[in-house]
Structure formats: structure tokens, C-alpha cells
Amino acid sequence: MISTSLIPCGQYKTSYAKDTTLFDTPVTRAFCVVGVLVLLTLPQLGISNYHLTLLIQIGYLSIAALGLNILVGSTGQISLGHAGFFGFGAFASAWLHNKFGIPVLLAMPLAAVMTTLLGLLFGIPAGRLKGLYLAIATFASQFILEDFFARADWFSGGSAGAMAGTASLFGFDLTGDRSYFYLVLFWLVTMVLLASNLLRSRDGRAFVAVRDHYLSAEVMGINLTKYRILSFGISSFYAGLGGALYGHYLGFVSAEGFTILLSIQFLGMIIIGGMGSVMGTLMGTAFMVLLPEVLEIGFGALRGIAGDVAWVTSGLAYAKQASIGLAIILFLIFEPDGLVHRWKLIKSYWKLYPFSY
């Protein structure tokens, strides 16, 4: 019993399959399954719409952030243009639905495929550029896409934006947050499984090799250009899907939602969560989404005590933005490996309790 639920202290793995297993013990697998089941029943348990909104937000942002983590965390490329791809997915899905009448549920993955093609295109400079130079190249793609959204009336509705229809399944409209939650959860679980499996595949190992030492990787026979561009493509697929989910959730896509700030926030999510970690991405996204809300509750309480004072109200908006920046700085200093590392420390502390060494 003990041997099946605890991880032995030391290396006892005798096969590659054991080394790359997704769940170290049956207990962790059971934990994940139960976690998903709990999420499935949440809407039925009368969770408030506000909390449901936050969960949905964490869902679609996590999907996009996962893509960025594959690119930045696992392949070691840098992208400051993730929000552009996120937005492209949102517009593409709305466009496919409005223009060609493709059902929303199908338009979403199709939009993700379109975003992939775009990502492969914008990823081409990555074959030649590294580090800061690549950062600036992706920065440029962000601006190109942002301007494209504001001007391409035929595609995005220009500055006026585009309506994104509601998804429907067998004639039922998935309009309410409750039903949309399931849609987001379905895609999140699918994409998390895909990402976890990708990272233990041949291509995933190639990504990590490129990240860790590109010269050695090349010597080992890994085609650097191919894997760098492929990584951009995969990351764009995730971004596009996340964006499509976001667009149809709000019901409206507007060009101004996909600024460089959102790109930076995506980077913040994976840095705070943990670079190269699927679990860390989820934690980082949850952190980034919940932090402003928690602060708002705090400031709301403060406002309740202080009364309706102007500087508290205006201070709230400021403190919300500033706190995100502060959180990133603090994480870089105290927890460069992200939330997921802290989580592992907590786990090992209790595993060895009370005889930790």
C-alpha cells in the first residue's frame, strides 16, 4: 500500500516509461481525476456567477499561457507577441462563424489552426535570431497584428470590433456561464493532456535540448530551425484556441484588448507559475487572475471602513496594476522557479515530516 502511494526516496526507476510517467503514484492520478470531477460538479453546487467567471477566465488564459510556456519555458525562445496571436484566434473564430456560418464549436479549433499558420510565419525570424533580438522581432509581430486588427475591416470589423456568436451544441445555446464553463474545462483538460504528453515525446525532448544548449542540440542532430519554428506554431495554436474561447465568451472581440500589456501578462503568468511546467502555468494563471480580485476585496473592505473617499477609489486601480508588477519582482527574487517549485517544497516537507533533513 505504502509503496503505491508514496514516492520512494532515491532513484528506483528501471525504464524510460517509468521516468516519463505523468503521474508518479496512483494517488496523484486519483487526485487529478477527483479534481476534474469536482470542477465538473461546481456549477451544479451553486457556485456564484462571479466565481464561475473567474474560473472561466483562468481556463482560457491558462490555455494560452500553456502555449507560451512551451515556447519560452521548454524551447527557450522568447515572445513578446503572444497577445497578438491570442487576439488573432479570437478574431479568426468570430470571422469564420460570421462570414462562413461555421458552427462556433468547430470555428474555435479551426481558428487555432489559422493562428498556427500565422505563428509558423512569424516564427521564421526565430530560426535566425536569439535572445533580445528575437524579443524585438516578436515585439514587432505584436504591433503588426495590433494594427491589422484595427484596420482590417473585412476580417476584424476594424476599430469597431466584431461580434462573436454563441456556441451551440445539438441545438442548445451554450450562452450561460454555467454551460460555457464546461466547454472551457473540456478544452483545458485536453490541452493540458496534450502539453504534458508533448513534453515527454521525441519532439518535446528536442525542445528542451534546444533550450538547454542549442549547440549541443545541433551536434546531436536536432534541426534547430525546424524545432524553433515548430515551437512557435504549437504555441500559436494554444494562443489561438485560448483567444477563440475568450472571444465567444465575451460575445464581442475588440482590437484594443490585445495589447503588449497582455503579452507581458502572459509572460508574468509563466514566470510566476514556473517556466517549463504545465502545472506551474495553471498555478501562475490562477495567481494572476485572482490577485487583482483579492486586492479589490481588500480595498473594498478598506473603502467600507474609510467611507467613499476619492483617493481610495482611484488608488484601487493603481494598486491593482502596481501589485502585479511587484509580485513579478518579488517572485524573481525569492522564487525564480515559480509557484510550482514552492508547491514541491511544501509537498516534500510534509512527505518527510517530521524528519526533514
Binding site: 456567477n49 460575445g251 464581442f252
Partner: protein, 409 residues
């Protein structure tokens, strides 16, 4: 049987009484920190003060208005997300702000039957039945002349002015503004009318809603030889533009949209704003009449000393809140009480409507089931700035015809 009937009647009575004392939830979406914050702040203050004042006088049929001012920083997605929150709170009406978000929400508020009183006066919101425009906006209301009608009035004035000045060739008219739903709203409609009035239309010049250095735009303005420049942005970036153009030496006749100029901005722009004309949608703070006395009382809700001068935006906000309040009053007498559809119905009951106590402040307005152009009467003011001497006076009032084909344009 009789007893149970009596009991249920008593319960019914008790529940309706409890219902009567419940506050009425109202949404308030404002821009305090975004690109249009310079005019968004006083407008939001006007809405908040007016609703607080209404509450202090007993609210609507004994029920207070419950609202919370929410800053969405002029970002459409944030407004959309907040709208979902407001749905949860079961608001019966919303006081909103910008054109981008209001137009994005048109079909949502129609579906959820929530009257939306916007600070966007976009012409696209005036066609409730979708008669002549692509999209019907049955639940959108705003107080004041639409942007398109405001710009048309400026065009009428410009045509007169050009004649008076003895211009022989065609006057050149240019639209200036950001590539954003708000500055874009009157672009085509106004351009078409300018053409009709015999003006020559130049290529539009783009300048950002966020104040910056606009010398490049001013140089193209100067080069274009425009005689009349319509500034479609809000006051913050208009000040920056006027200043930049003064340095460059571009001197067309500037004409501002209703959000493009106000008393404080005149002070900030200084002599660069001398001679500028712009649309004013209600009385001004300097006016003295019974209605303005009420506005000054309302202003004391946030400024007890009563010394702070309020711009025109604040006063239009008060009008918007009071039209909503009186519609709610009328709705509370209808079967079903204060609900979205009843408020909408109540908006159509009066003709040349001015909220009680605000005579001489709000322009008489009439909303019809097939026409949401509350008023088409447009006041044009001109600024005179010399050193620290700042003046503004009404020089023109236009009554724009209510053409059917202009609905929703």
C-alpha cells in the same frame, strides 16, 4: 379555505411591501483612468451626484437607486466583463460611457431588456427598429444631439461662415480623430452632409485619443490647406493637438465635438484655442436660471462648499440621470413596476420632455418608438481666449432635420 386565502393575501401584501423598500439596482460604467478620462471623470461625477441627490430626495417611489461606479479604463473587454457582473445584480438600467463598449453591448442589452443610457451619442444608436441601418438598438438611449447631428450643425455653421468671409472657392473640410469607434462614429455621416453643403472633403487625419506630440499631424493639416478642421477626439488630446498646431503654425478654423472642449480645457489650451467653435449639449455652469440652481445643489453632493465649477459634461450627466429617474417614476406606476421594458416604454410617453426642475438646463427631448434622436437642436459655442481672459458664447443654434435615412447614421 377562506383563512388560507387571507393568509396568502397577507403574505402577498407583505412581500410587495418588502419589494417596495428594496433598492433599485442600477449599473454605472465609467472611464476614470483611460484614454477619455479627462471628460469621463466629470461625467461620472455628474451621474453619481445626481443619483445620490435622487436618493436623498426619496429615490424612485420610495426605493433608492443602488449603484456602484466602476472604472473600465475605456477598454471594451473590461466593460463587457463588467456587464456580466451587472446581469448578476439584476440591474434594471445602466448608465454607461464610451462608443466602443456601448455599440458592442447593443445586442446584449436588447436581449436582456436593460435600457442603456450611454454617454456615447453615436448616431448608430438612434435607430431602435433597424429601419435604415444595419443594426437596431432598441434599448439604447442618450441625452443630447448625436455626434453626427452635432457635426452636421458645425458644417452648417462653417458653410455660413465661409459665405460671410467671402470665400470664393470651395471651403476645405477635414475630419481629425483616432481610428476608434468614437471619433469614427460621425465621420461618414458628417462628411456626406458637408459635401451636400458644398464643402470639399479632404483625407481624414488621424491623431491618438491619448494626448501626445501631434506636430506631424499638424504639419499635414497645414499642408492640406484645410479651412475647417473637425476634431472628433476628447478634450485631453484636443488640447495637445491645438498646442502642437499653434507651434507649427497651422491655422484652420477648429470645430470640436461635444466632448472636445470645455471650460477647463480652454484654460489649459490657452490662446491656441482662441476662436474654436464646438458643440454644447446643455446649459453651462456660468448660466443663471432655476434649473442651474438645482444642478448646483446636486453638485454639493460631492463638493459641499459649492465652489467647484463643473464642465458641460457634468451637466449633461445630470440630465441623463434625471431622464432615467423620471422614466423609472413612470415605470413604477405600470404593471410590473420598475423593469427594463417598462422604463423603455416610459421613455416614449412625453413630448418635448425636460425633467422637473431642470428647465433651462436640459434641451427639450422626445424619444419615439422608431426614433431615438432625443433632440436634434444643437448649440454651437465659440471660445475667445486672450491671455488669462477666457470667454465662451453661443453663436449659433442649428435645428437639424429629422431625416428618416439618417436614423442610425
Amino acid at each position: 379555505m377562506k383563512k388560507s386565502l387571507l393568509a396568502s393575501a397577507a403574505i402577498l401584501l407583505a412581500s410587495t411591501m418588502a419589494h417596495a423598500a428594496d433598492p433599485i439596482p442600477v449599473g454605472h460604467i465609467a472611464d476614470l483612468t483611460g484614454a477619455t478620462g479627462s471628460v469621463g471623470k466629470p461625467y461620472a461625477q455628474g451621474i453619481a451626484d445626481a443619483m445620490k441627490y435622487i436618493n436623498s430626495k426619496g429615490g424612485v417611489g420610495g426605493r433608492t437607486l443602488a449603484f456602484e461606479t466602476t472604472d473600465y479604463a475605456y477598454e471594451v473587454p473590461r466593460a463587457m466583463a463588467h456587464y456580466k457582473k451587472l446581469l448578476d445584480q439584476k440591474v434594471v438600467a445602466i448608465q454607461g460611457w464610451g462608443t466602443g463598449d456601448t455599440e458592442a453591448l447593443v445586442s446584449f442589452v436588447a436581449k436582456d431588456t436593460i435600457p442603456y443610457f450611454s454617454a456615447s451619442y453615436s448616431g448608430h444608436l438612434t435607430d431602435p427598429q433597424g429601419k435604415t441601418s444595419a443594426k437596431a438598438s432598441p434599448y439604447n438611449f442618450f441625452y443630447g444631439p448625436s455626434y453626427s447631428d452635432g457635426c452636421r450643425a458645425l458644417v452648417e455653421w462653417a458653410a455660413d461662415d465661409w459665405k460671410k468671409k467671402g470665400g470664393t472657392a470651395k471651403a476645405k473640410f477635414v475630419h481629425m480623430g483616432d481610428n476608434h469607434p468614437y471619433p469614427n462614429a460621425p465621420k461618414d455621416a458628417c462628411g456626406a452632409y458637408a459635401k451636400e453643403k458644398g464643402l470639399e472633403i479632404l483625407n481624414p487625419i488621424q491623431y491618438s485619443l491619448k494626448p501626445g506630440d501631434f506636430k506631424a499631424q499638424c504639419l499635414s493639416l497645414k499642408e492640406s490647406g484645410a479651412n475647417y478642421a473637425y476634431l472628433a477626439n476628447t478634450s485631453g488630446s484636443t488640447i495637445a493637438l491645438l498646442k502642437s498646431c499653434e507651434t507649427v503654425g497651422a491655422k484652420p478654423q477648429y470645430m470640436g465635438n461635444v466632448w472636445g472642449m470645455d471650460e477647463a480645457s480652454l484654460k489649459a489650451a490657452g490662446e491656441a484655442a482662441n476662436g474654436m467653435v464646438w458643440v454644447v449639449g446643455a446649459a453651462t455652469w456660468a448660466d443663471n436660471n432655476a434649473g442651474m440652481n438645482l444642478v448646483r445643489e446636486i453638485s454639493k453632493m460631492s463638493d459641499p462648499s459649492g465652489t467647484e465649477p463643473r464642465p458641460g459634461h457634468y451637466i449633461r450627466a445630470v440630465c441623463s440621470a434625471f431622464y432615467m429617474k423620471e422614466a423609472m417614476d413612470a415605470a413604477s406606476a405600470m404593471p410590473g413596476g420598475v423593469t427594463g421594458p417598462n422604463i423603455k416604454k416610459a421613455m416614449y410617453t412625453k413630448k418635448d420632455w425636460v425633467p422637473a426642475g431642470l428647465d433651462g438646463v436640459c434641451l427639450p427631448s422626445t424619444w419615439k418608438e422608431d426614433d431615438h434622436r432625443g433632440t436634434t437642436s444643437v448649440m454651437v459655442y465659440q471660445a475667445s481666449v486672450k491671455g488669462t481672459d477666457i470667454g465662451m458664447k453661443k453663436i449659433f443654434t442649428a435645428n437639424i432635420p429629422r431625416r428618416t435615412e439618417w436614423l442610425g447614421w
